[in-house]
């Protein structure tokens, strides 16, 4: 069976101050129906650009190369009605900031029923009845009342649930979730995430899940792609990623987040700052910040290569370093506070 979504050699250039700059470089992955793939990286790593390319929501003037195939059709060649059909039926997007991404002067009911009424020509009453059901699905049980409210009257978490309900309305085959919980506060994050994950399973939708949180990706996704400076640096099953990372960047990301069970003297920050694709020097983009970097790393960009079964990495030393990446660089227990 061929994959539902296939991204092959996708590169994107954007016009910045008059010249084209690469923001996405040679991204390839595939996603089967019902499967979940995580895209993890810092801001500017290209994860949002990847998702926007799939929905053809790139800024004006963007140049793309490579291919994106959805159910056998080339997405990048879709235009006009075909593109609208693809957007309205096949994919649904959930955005990071639900407040900014809902029209402030239209009611919740309008937001929920709009897609059904505009694209599916469902009569209003029918659409509203369905909207109440959808709200119940995302755990909002006073739907009748909510339909009459405006976005500013709802909390961020509630609004994101509405956003999720709205994306379910058209029963898409693929959900593009662009950091759906980042803008929410911590307690609502897990609620919203649980709802999203459950519905994704129940509806049998494939999901491309963007986050900067490796652990979250590991919890939600079957497989995870780690991105850095516009390129993929690692791709493997989520279950193994946090015990056996294949790229120093993934390992560093892992160590830079706190764990509840374990007290560490100080969270190891990744030295330096994240770079964009167009700022990268020759060679490995992560080399300037990598504690395992050698001269050869800085000479040429390493290829994205298979390391094992379903395991890929863009590190020259991936096989050599396997298993050692998570060993802390410096352990100084004296620094433990209290």
């Amino acid at each position: 069976m061929s994959a539902l979504l296939e991204v092959d050699g996708l590169s994107v250039e954007l016009p910045v101050a008059g010249e084209y700059r690469t923001v996405l470089q040679d991204v390839s992955f595939s996603l089967d129906a019902g499967q979940t793939l995580g895209l993890v990286g810092e801001s500017g790593s290209g994860k949002s650009m990847t998702v926007r390319s799939i929905a053809q929501l790139l800024p004006p003037g963007a140049r793309t190369s490579g291919s994106i195939t959805f159910d056998g059709a080339s997405v990048l060649d879709l235009r006009g009605d075909a593109l609208r059909k693809f957007r309205s039926r096949d994919v649904s997007m959930i955005f990071q900031d639900p407040r900014a991404h809902t029209n402030p002067v239209r009611r919740i009911g309008d937001f929920l029923t709009e897609a059904m009424r505009v694209n599916g020509r469902v009569p209003r009453r029918e659409a509203e009845r369905r909207a109440v059901e959808l709200l119940a699905e995302v755990g909002i049980h006073d739907g009748e009342r909510r339909l009459r409210q405006y976005p500013h009257e709802l909390s961020g978490g509630l609004l994101q649930r509405v956003m999720i309900a709205a994306s379910l309305a058209v029963k898409p085959r693929l959900i593009l979730a662009d950091e759906p919980t980042t803008a929410l506060d911590v307690t609502t994050q897990s609620e919203v995430m649980a709802i999203l994950a459950r519905l994704q399973r129940e509806y049998g939708m494939a999901m491309l899940f963007i986050t900067h949180d490796l652990e979250l990706a590991a919890a939600v996704c079957d497989e995870t792609v780690v991105m850095y400076a516009g390129a993929m640096v690692e791709h493997q099953a989520s279950s193994r990623l946090h015990t056996d990372p294949l790229h120093p960047y993934s390992a560093a990301l892992m160590q830079a987040r706190p764990e509840i069970e374990r007290r560490v003297p100080r969270l190891p920050a990744i030295p330096g700052h994240p770079t964009s694709a167009f700022e990268t020097p020759d060679g490995c983009a992560f080399a300037p910040r990598c504690r395992f970097a050698e001269d050869a790393c800085r000479a040429a960009l390493p290829a994205f290569e298979r390391v094992g079964d379903g395991e890929y990495s863009r590190c020259r030393r991936a096989e050599e370093l396997r298993g050692q990446l998570l060993v802390p660089a410096v352990v100084s227990h004296e620094e433990v506070v209290r």
Binding site: R84, M93, F95, N103, A115
Partner: protein, 326 residues
């Protein structure tokens, strides 16, 4: 959708009450200014009103009675205001006629002029703004350039130039007057309305262009596009609907501003409306008429602003009618 809760209804009522209360206070304050102006005049009010005209004692007694000069100032004001509320604007010193009927004969022309101008502003100003907002390009930039220049053209200059070009040189339109019958009147009012509307058309065009350009890049419009809606639906329901809010405030204020512009335009085109009556009454020192017209103008101006304000709060749910969280 209806079925608002009683609490919400109460909020709406309180909101409306507040706005209307504010309207009444402002109206009262400006009527006080218009009336009190009489006392700022050098000399006694009665000599100011008669202005050295040789008048019969009868006529003077009539003025005295009309303004109740024998009573305290505040009482005079209350009586004057009470009369106006009953439609009694007093008597013209010059025409020996009731001011109310003078205004009645004239107000139609002025209302027609303002209505036609408002229509032009809405059609042309919004038309240009929407076109250049949605279709950036050379045509759009050119239209914006012309609009910017047009904003520096005073109404009277526009009136003079339009008369010169379209009435005198080309002879397409009459030079002055309102003609006879409604169709002829409309024809006679086209040039004056254009002159009155020109600067407002330019504002509205520029503002709506900017509002659309800003709205079109909004995140929620991205959402609408990502949901596969046709371009027309995205533009109508999400871009134009939202961009209409800032435009509405300005549209209302420009309409209100055009009210005082009628004074100039009616003068140029010799239209027998309130504006030209105001100017001739000032020149002929017919103060009761001046007072009445100023009051009508200011009232129209204030009422219009309140209506726009209310319309805005209906259209923008974030302006909380209930006064709660916004």
């Amino acid at each position: 959708m209806s079925a608002a809760s009683p609490k919400a209804a109460l909020h709406t009522l309180r909101f409306l009450g507040g706005r209307i209360g504010g309207l009444l206070v402002t109206l009262l304050a400006s009527s006080f200014v218009v009336f009190g102006a009489l006392y700022l005049a050098p000399g006694s009010p009665i000599t100011f009103l008669t202005h050295g005209r040789s008048m019969t004692p009868d006529a003077i007694a009539q003025i005295n009675e009309q303004y109740h000069f024998d009573e305290p100032f505040l009482l005079q004001y209350v009586r004057w205001l009470g009369g106006i509320l009953q439609g009694d604007f007093g008597r013209s010193i010059l025409y020996k006629d009731s001011v109310g009927s003078l205004l009645g004969q004239r107000i139609g022309t002025t209302v027609a002029l303002i209505a036609l101008s408002a229509l032009l502003v809405a059609l042309i100003g919004l038309g240009i703004g929407i076109f250049s907002g949605l279709k950036p390009g050379i045509a759009s930039s050119a239209l914006m350039g012309v609009s910017t220049a047009a904003m520096a053209v005073p109404t009277f200059v526009a009136a003079v130039v339009l008369t010169l070009v379209f009435a005198v040189e080309l002879g397409w339109f009459p030079v002055f007057g309102v003609g006879e019958g409604p169709v002829d009147m409309l024809y006679h009012l086209i040039l004056p309305a254009f002159a009155l509307a020109l600067a407002s058309i330019a504002f509205v065009a520029r503002l709506s262009q900017a509002a659309i350009r800003q709205e079109i890049t909004a995140d929620h419009v991205q959402t609408a596009i990502s949901r596969g809606f046709p371009y027309g639906v995205v533009v109508r329901r999400h871009v134009l609907r939202n961009a209409s809010l800032p435009v509405l405030t300005v549209l209302g204020l420009t309409l209100a501003g055009m009210i005082s512009g009628t004074v100039v335009v009616e003068q140029v085109f010799q239209l027998n409306g309130l504006g030209s009556l105001l100017v001739s009454s000032v020149q002929q020192k017919d103060f009761p008429v001046v007072q009445a017209i100023c009051l009508v103008y200011v009232a129209a101006f204030i009422v219009l602003n309140t209506v726009i304000d209310l319309a805005y709060s209906v259209l923008d749910p974030r302006v909380s009618v209930g006064g709660g969280k916004s």
